[in-house]
Amino acid sequence: MSADATNADVPAQLPDAAGHYGPFGGRFVPEALVAALDELASAHRAAMADESFLAEFAGLSRDYAGTPSLLYEARRFSERAGARVLLKREDLNHTGAHKVRNVLGQALLTRRMGKRRVIAETGAGQHGVAAATAAALFDLECVVYMGQVDTERQALNVARMRMLGATVVPVTTGSRTLKDAMNEAMRDWVANVDETHYLIGTAAGPHPFPALVRDFVRGIGDEARTQCLDQIGALPDAVTACVGGGSNALGIFHAFTGDPQVRLYGFEAGGDGVGTGRHAASITGGSTGVLHGTRTFVLQDADGQTQESHSISAGLDYPGVGPEHAWLHDTGRATYQPVTDDEAMSAFELLCRTEGIIPAIESAHALAGTLAVAPKLAAELGRQPTILVNLSGRGDKDVHTAGEYFGILDKERP
């Protein structure tokens, strides 16, 4: 590892003590939760300063989750992109996505706080499966809230969670999707906060969740930065990721925020197109508001009622975004752009055919965005750019959705 392999200058000052990222973040929660959030914040602080905690997290991440994940130069995809594309292979982690890093960290924190029960929200079921996995490993009771619409769309993931011993509760209120599952998890937490940890699935929610989730997923970028220096002898020109709540994007961005020459791009789910109103692009298509305990960008109507989001990707189908992304957008440090369903699916197919890798549809948004920014970067730099892409997950869970999209399921081709 070369001397500058780790970036010690990464700004560590945000959030402030109250969880603010400039005007974003904070805590918009019932008073009943404040004591638990304070307890969590101090457990998180203490854990991050505790060598034995960090060693246990690192050991589990390596031996159980399979990190560091590979950095792979995708040569055939690169040819089509007009850029040197490096894939951070989070799809190869246990449970198939970056999410395992977050759940292992939070399960360790749960044990440290002496709690016996975890609750989680899930959309497609990826975080639910990851939470159920960690709960099985740590012998914790696990209840997963999932919108009823999603339990029907994602029956296989419901079965996975149940196999792992979790209880899946279909949520029948509101729009019956991820945001309502999150409301229901918060309601459970208010009522059971003494023995329960809310194992949130992304870098959103009230302080300290955005900060602690970032701390558990930042290994993605720390590893990738070192791997870039080792494998290609340079930092990339740009880092790209998809943005749902924002955990995989923050995870890979964080190590590079102190490298001003490295551009950061987050790609939001543009659904049918931001202009159609049917999308999940909170930063490019939303406005500042308060949702799920934090101030951030929100899809909302003129009265501040949350609007339903739309995306082919269940993992990006959320009408808010973590507050640190709102801040990175506001300060201009990162650039956020929408990617439509069709653009994502075309990049999905391209990766399948050029590299033999079936990506998660979420990650396909990052690939599509990469294809879109590559020519602009090339023009700007006057040479072929190097782009590091967070391939946040694998597409096994999406085979049905993609099969329907491409019309290749047997029932459609008798």
Partner: protein, 279 residues
């Protein structure tokens, strides 16, 4: 506590002279319709509810249980807007009963905090109860409520530390809202054991009246809570009268009957014990 006088304070003073607690009845604005909610609130006042709490319906009410969620969804599906809430406040305040508004924070930010305070004051509202706004995040609201002379009620909970109780009560004007249980709204078969303890903790650090809500649904429960609190706050049980009964006239009758029962309850509170309000 700010030096300004409270808009709702007079009602508490009068109830204290009468030796009883106030009954606060909660209804979502626009449920089942804008006109229907005004009629329901007026019926509650007629039947002895002292203070009306108008809840602004919100798409993501994390402090509310299934009854208020359903009622809010119905109101929103009917197209109720924040400005309709102000019209409802005005219509109900015309009865002479104090009207306090309960709202999640995002609709207020979206309306504009100062603009909302101005319009609420003009509509005759007394102030806001803010279930997901803690004083640390409330800078704009502290300023706007001072500027427009509105009350502000933050919540305290059994889990609040003494420091937080003092800090939170210090930012309240009008009354403090004690959440009786760790949980969401909804009538419970038993009233909380934690509530009297919480109320006496609050009384040690403030002279403000203390209202207790979450879980009260019968006259008997209201009497129990009236034994130690200055206001008994009832929501889900009243709302259920309208949810459960499809016929409008029957629903209003059920609502009046329960209001009467609760109003009798707060008049037969147990004698104030050692933890009771001084003077």
């Amino acid at each position: 506590m700010s030096e300004r006088t409270s808009r709702i304070g007079g009602a508490f003073d009068k109830a204290r002279v009468d030796g009883r607690a106030l009954l606060v009845g909660c209804m979502p604005a626009g449920f089942p319709t804008v006109e229907g909610s005004i009629a329901a609130m007026k019926a509650m006042v007629d039947a002895g509810v002292d203070v009306i709490e108008v809840e602004i319906p919100y798409s993501d009410p994390v402090m509310d249980g299934p009854v208020i969620q359903r009622a809010s969804d119905i109101a929103l599906a009917g197209g109720v807007r924040t400005r309709d809430t102000l019209r409802i406040v005005e219509a109900v305040a015309a009865t002479g009963a104090p009207v306090v508004t309960m709202t999640y924070w995002n609709p207020i930010e979206r309306y504009g905090v100062d603009a909302f305070a101005r319009d609420l004051a003009a509509a005759g509202g007394t102030g806001l109860i803010t279930p997901d706004l803690i004083p640390e995040e409330a800078g704009d609201w502290l300023a706007a409520s001072d500027a427009h002379g509105l009350d502000r009620t933050f919540l305290v909970a059994p889990s609040s530390t003494d420091e937080r109780l003092a800090m939170t009560a210090g930012h309240c004007r009008g009354f403090v809202y004690a959440t009786a249980i760790m949980g969401v709204t909804g009538a419970r078969s038993q009233t909380s054991q934690a509530a009297p303890v919480l109320v006496s903790r609050v009384r040690e650090i403030t002279d403000l009246p203390v209202g207790v809500g979450l879980g009260v649904g019968t006259g008997e429960q209201a009497a129990t809570v009236a034994g130690y609190a200055d206001a008994v706050i009832v929501g889900s049980a009243l709302i259920r009268c309208l949810l459960d009964t499809p016929d409008d006239a029957e629903a209003l009758t059920a609502l009046r009957d329960l209001s009467t029962e609760l109003a009798e309850g707060v008049r037969h509170g147990l004698p104030r014990g050692a933890g009771g309000r001084p003077g």
